[in-house]
Symmetry: C2
Subunit: 160 residues, 2 copies
DNA sequence: TCCATATTGACAGCTCACTGTCATTTTGAC
DNA sequence: GTCAAAATGACAGTGAGCTGTCAATATGGA
């Protein structure tokens, strides 16, 4: 077994590969979990961002909170609106940037998704250990800060 | 600020969000790193899987090693072949399952990608600390094992 | 030997990220 | 008050993952 150059010996390479895999596994598990509710991981996450805010937010604000681009979030929000899980409210401060909020059905579906997720999250937490999870969160935050500076690039100069 | 139900208080929820973000940041950083070589993160990763093996492997085997589906890997392999970075060799044991291997140009490009990655990986490793990285790798492996059982589902019964 | 099963590649179609571009609206400098 | 700049939504296109399906090839038991 010759391995004169093994680029995957570097701890950061191995960590990156594991992060890719865990990312995929989390999305797959989430999809399976909320599929019976007519949701996907991405839609569930956006609903979470909406639910978490004490007041309705425009899409751009949701995207910033999630570390994604406004276009990605907008598409998912539109899907959720088509499903009747979120609705748009007029924004007194901005005519175009409507505010996104959960409908009654949306609140109900989100609550049911949470009820599905909590036992699994508890199980994973117990399996991994609270302290290890807390340390991993700190580590990941540090790596991401070092990697991406801020994490996402809000529209740089458009229409120059 | 009312937050009667804050589903993101759960450590596993926060960890999952951080993993999603780090995944995105790693892919973005990788894309930026190898773009000058005409590569993307995904193509680079597939090249890594090919390079890592001491002997040429069929696409299905690469996919298994990477924890992805054969279809995803096949598409990227075809792209790499069109770029002239990998080539197919006849498989003595299977007429259709050709073996993927790096071309001379592929080896050269991969070596240059490694040269770009190593300093960044070293910097990240120093920033985060070797021990923390090693512990995070163990944690992630454990979570993924608990989540996905094996990690990927090779074609379940087709043609029933 | 022969046929059912598993494996593999190929193709189509989906979701979810991304970038880039444009029109509209808001904001702020003058 | 006016006009440039920034912010926002809308739309088009791309990359990368997924599932599902079909045909071709290996494999193994009867």
């Amino acid at each position: 077994m010759k391995r004169s150059t093994d680029p995957f010996a570097h701890p950061l390479s191995r960590l990156a590969l594991e992060v890719f895999r865990l990312n995929g596994a989390l999305i797959a598990a989430g999809d399976g979990l909320v599929a019976p509710l007519g949701l996907t991981s991405a839609r569930w996450q956006v609903m979470g961002a909406v639910a978490q805010s004490p007041e309705p937010l425009p899409t751009v604000q949701l995207a910033r909170n999630m570390g994604l681009t406004r276009q990605s979030v907008q598409r998912v929000v539109d899907d959720l609106a088509a499903q009747g899980l979120v609705a748009f409210a007029a924004n007194p401060h901005h005519k175009r940037a409507k505010l996104v909020q959960l409908t009654e059905e949306g609140k109900d579906v989100f609550a049911r998704a949470l009820a599905l997720w909590t036992p699994l999250a508890d199980d994973l937490l117990a399996s991994a250990g609270e302290r290890a999870v807390a340390e991993a969160i700190v580590l990941i935050e540090r790596l991401r800060a070092r990697l991406g500076a801020d994490g996402n690039h809000p529209d740089p100069g458009s229409t120059p």
